[in-house]
Symmetry: C4
Subunit: 261 residues, 4 copies
C-alpha cells in the first residue's frame, strides 16, 4: 500500500486556489474552524486521503455504516469577482507518527500544488493554560510581508509566543509548503487547552473571512460556544457546591465537553 | 524481506468466495469463532502469511517443534447447491503497529481479491465492561442494504455502539476492503472484555451460520464456555470466601481464564 | 543506507557449514556461549554486520578507539575428517525493533545460505526466575527427527516450556530459517534471569560440543562462573549481615554482576 | 518525500575540507561549540538538511516568521597557507529515532564525502553527574595515530570513560564515517549534565582551535558562561536561604538555565 493514498472524487479546475488547513489539535480549534467554513460556504468534496499513518480504525455512523478514517479536501468556487477559489483540508486525525506527519503533509501539498495552490492558511489553537474570555488570534507567517498584512487584521505577532514553535500539521504545512514554493500564514486562536473551543474557532474564522472577503454566518458556531459555556458553568457550580473548587467535580458534565464539536 | 510474505500452500479455484476474518482481539471472540468455524467445516489450509509486523517470535509445540508466528488462510468448498465457497482468515496476532495493520490487511485483501472475494465478514468482540449473560451480536456494515439484511438476523445496530468506531483488523478489513471493491459486515459479540469468551463467539458464529446457510455443531464451543463458567464460579466462590468480593482472589484459577481458548 | 549492511572481510569456501547463533539475551547465555566457542576454536572473522536497526552507538576501547556496534560472523574450518565447517554469529545487540529483528535475521540467513548453510544451532538462556544450581538444557527444533536426536544428548523437551514460545533472534533464526530451507535446533540453558550466567552457557556449549564433535576446554568459562559465584556469595552475606535478606543489599557487589561476561 | 533532503544553497569547491559536527546533546556542549565556531570564523551557509526523522515542527522568529526545523552545513575557506577548509554541521535536532540517526548521518556523510571530506571532528558533552569546575576534554578516535596526536593537545583518553560508548550523532559520524573512508576524533567536554555548559564548550573548542590552527576569540562564550554561573549562584543562595540545599529551590532561576545557549 502506498503510504498515503489520495482518491480524487471530482476532477476540477480552480482559479488560483488558496488552501485552508484545519485538523484536530489543541482545543480542536483548527478542525472546528475548517469544518465550519466548509459547511457554511458550502464547499464540495474533492478528494479523500487515506494513510497507514492514521490509526487502523473505522468510524461507524448512527445508521451502522463504516467509514475508514481519513482526511478530506473540499473545494469552493468563489464568485466571479473574486480572485481565489478555496481548498479546505479537514479530517479525523493528523498523522500519528512524526514520519507520518511529514509524509502526509508533503503528499497533500504536492496534490494541492498541482491544483495551483501557492498560498496556505493553517488554522490552529494556542493553549494558554487558563480560561480565555476574549480569544486573540496569534499569527506566524512564511515572510515579513504576510506578517505586516496580518497585523492589519488585528492578528497578534508576539515576540515570545509560540515560544517552542509550532508542532504538527499547522506548522508543517507552512514549513514544507515553503520548500515547494508556497507562502502562507498560521492563525492560532487562544484557548484554554482544556476543552473544545468554538469561540476560539470563531475568532480565527472571523480573521480568515475578512482576509479572504468571505461572508459567513457565525450563528451556529456561536450556539455551540454557548452550549460549551453552559456545561462549563454547570461544572463550576457543581464544584462550588461541593466546596472543592480546585479539584475535579461533576465528571459527567465535564466529560460532555470532550465530545462536543 | 518483503513486509508481508504470503506463501500459497495449494492452488485453488473457488466459487465467488466470501472471506471470514477472525483474529485475536477483545475476549478473543473473533479468533475463537474463526478457528471454530475452520475446524467444524472443516476448511483446508490455503496460504500462510508471515510479516515483519508480527512479533519476532516462534511458538513451540508440545512435541518441541517450532513454528513462526503467522496468519493463515483456509478454504472450504461449499456444497454444489450453494453459491459461495469460504475463505477463513485466522492467526496468532494482528499487526503490532498501525502501519503493520494497514500493510497486512491490504496485502491479504489483494490476495483474496485475486481469488474472487467481493464480500467480507469480520468477527470480533465488543467489550461491555460488565458480565454479559446473553451476548447480543452488534453489527456494522459497508452499506445500508447490508445493515437491513443483518437486522433480519437479529443483529443489533446501535446508535451509540461502537462509539469510538472499530480499531484493528475487523474494522480495517471492511474499511480498506471498500477501497478495492468489497462490501461486508462486522459482527461483534458482546463480552465482558475480562477474559476469553466462547459464549460470545458462539453467538457471533450462530448469526454467521444462519446468514451463510452453514450447518454447524456448537457442542465443543459450548463445552469450552462451560469450562470458563466453572472457573469463573471458582473465582467467585474464592472471593466470597475471603470476604473480598471486590478485589482479586484466587489468582491461580483466575489465571486459567487467560489461557483457555 | 541499506537497512542491513554486511561487509565481507574474507572470501572463503566452506564445507557444508553449520551456523551457530548466540546474541545478547536472557542471562547473556547465548552470547557467552557463542563468544567462548569462537575464542576456543578459534574461529576467524568473516563478515561484519551493521544495521540502522541497532542502536546509534559506538563502543570505545580501552585505548580510546571507537567501533560501531555490529554483529559478527566468524568461520572455523573443521579437521579434514569432519563433515561440517562452522559459522558463528555473535555481536553487541539484537535488532531493537520487531521489524529490525526480522530484517537482520533474514539478511544474515540469506548470506549464510549463499555460503552453504542448511543447519542452524541457536543458543539462548531460559529464565526460571529462581537460582538454578545444575542448569538443564532445554530444546526446541524445526522437526521431529532433530527433537529425537537432541534427546540422546540429554536435551530436555518439556511440554510446557517455553510456554510463550521463543522471542527474539534464537527463535527467529529457526523460524525464518525454515522458510529458506534450513533446519535447526535451539538450545536453551536454564538460568535465573537475574545476572549473566557462564555456568548455563557452559551447559549449552557442552551439549553443542558433543553434538558437533568439538573438543573444547571449558576452564576459562568455569573460572568466570566461579567469579560470579564469589560475587553472589558476597551479596548474600551482606544481605544476611544487614538482616534484610529479602531486600537489595550491597549494591556495589550486586552491580558487578551485570558487567561480567 | 525522501527520508533526508539536502538543499544546497551555494555550489563550492573546497580544499581537503574537515567536517566539524556539533548537534544538540548533553549540556548542549557540541551545539554551543559548533555554533560558536561558525559565528566566529565566520562560516557561510552551504546546505540545509530537512528530514522526516526530525520532529514535525517549525520555529517562529521574534518577527513571526516560521522556519522548518533542520540541520545546517556551513563552510569556511581557510587562509591560503592552511591545508584544510572547514565544514561545520549544526542544527536544531538529532534524528529522533535510531533509524533516523543512521539515515541522516549517512546522508550527510555521503554529501560531505562528495565535497572531499576525509576527516571528521565531532563535539559533544560528557555528563559527570556532578559540578565540573575545570572541564577536561575526553577523547575517542578512529585509530591509534589520532589518539596519540590528541594526547599532545591534553585530550584525556580514559580507560573507563565513556564506559557505555557514545550514543547519538557524535559517535555515529565517526562509526559510519569509517565505513566510507573517513577518520576522525570525538572531543567530549566534561559537564555536569544538568544544564547547558558554555564553559565545557569553550574547553572543547580550545582544543579544536589548537589542533586546526584556528585563531578564535572566546570572549562571547566566556560571557555566556559567566551568565550561567550567576544564575547557578542565585539558585544556590536561594537553596541556602530556604535551608533546603538538597531539594529544588528557586525554580524560576533554575528554569532560566535550560533556555540559555
Amino acid at each position: 500500500m502506498d503510504d498515503v493514498v489520495i482518491r480524487t472524487l471530482e476532477k476540477v479546475t480552480l482559479r488560483d486556489p488558496i488552501l485552508v488547513e484545519g485538523l484536530p489539535g489543541v482545543g480542536n480549534v483548527g478542525k472546528l474552524a475548517a469544518d465550519y467554513l466548509r459547511d457554511q460556504l458550502p464547499a464540495k468534496p474533492l478528494a479523500t486521503i487515506y494513510s497507514k499513518f492514521f490509526p487502523p480504525q473505522v468510524y461507524v455512523s448512527e445508521e451502522g455504516i463504516i467509514r475508514l478514517v481519513s482526511n478530506d479536501l473540499s473545494y469552493w468556487r468563489a464568485p466571479a469577482a473574486a480572485q481565489h477559489d478555496l481548498l479546505i483540508l479537514g479530517g479525523d486525525y493528523q498523522g500519528i507518527s512524526p514520519e507520518g506527519q511529514y509524509e502526509i503533509t508533503e503528499r497533500v501539498l504536492d496534490y494541492c500544488h498541482a491544483l495551483g495552490v501557492r498560498e496556505v492558511f493553517t488554522l490552529a489553537g494556542f493553549a494558554q493554560g487558563r480560561v480565555v474570555e476574549e480569544p486573540r488570534v496569534l499569527g506566524a507567517a512564511t515572510n515579513a510581508a504576510r506578517v505586516e498584512l496580518m497585523k492589519k487584521f488585528s492578528v497578534v505577532f508576539s515576540r515570545n509566543d509560540p515560544g517552542g514553535g509550532l508542532i504538527g500539521a499547522s506548522g508543517l504545512f507552512l514549513g514544507l509548503g515553503r520548500l515547494v514554493g508556497m507562502e502562507g500564514v498560521c492563525l492560532m486562536g487562544e484557548t484554554s487547552g482544556y476543552f473544545v473551543d468554538p469561540r476560539s474557532a470563531e475568532a480565527v474564522l472571523k480573521v480568515l473571512a475578512r482576509v479572504l472577503h468571505l461572508d459567513l454566518d457565525f450563528t451556529a458556531l456561536q450556539s455551540k460556544a454557548k452550549e460549551i459555556d453552559r456545561i462549563a458553568q454547570k461544572i463550576h457550580e457543581a464544584e462550588q457546591h461541593s466546596g472543592e473548587s480546585g479539584t475535579p467535580g461533576a465528571p459527567s458534565a465535564r466529560d460532555d465537553l470532550g465530545y462536543i464539536g
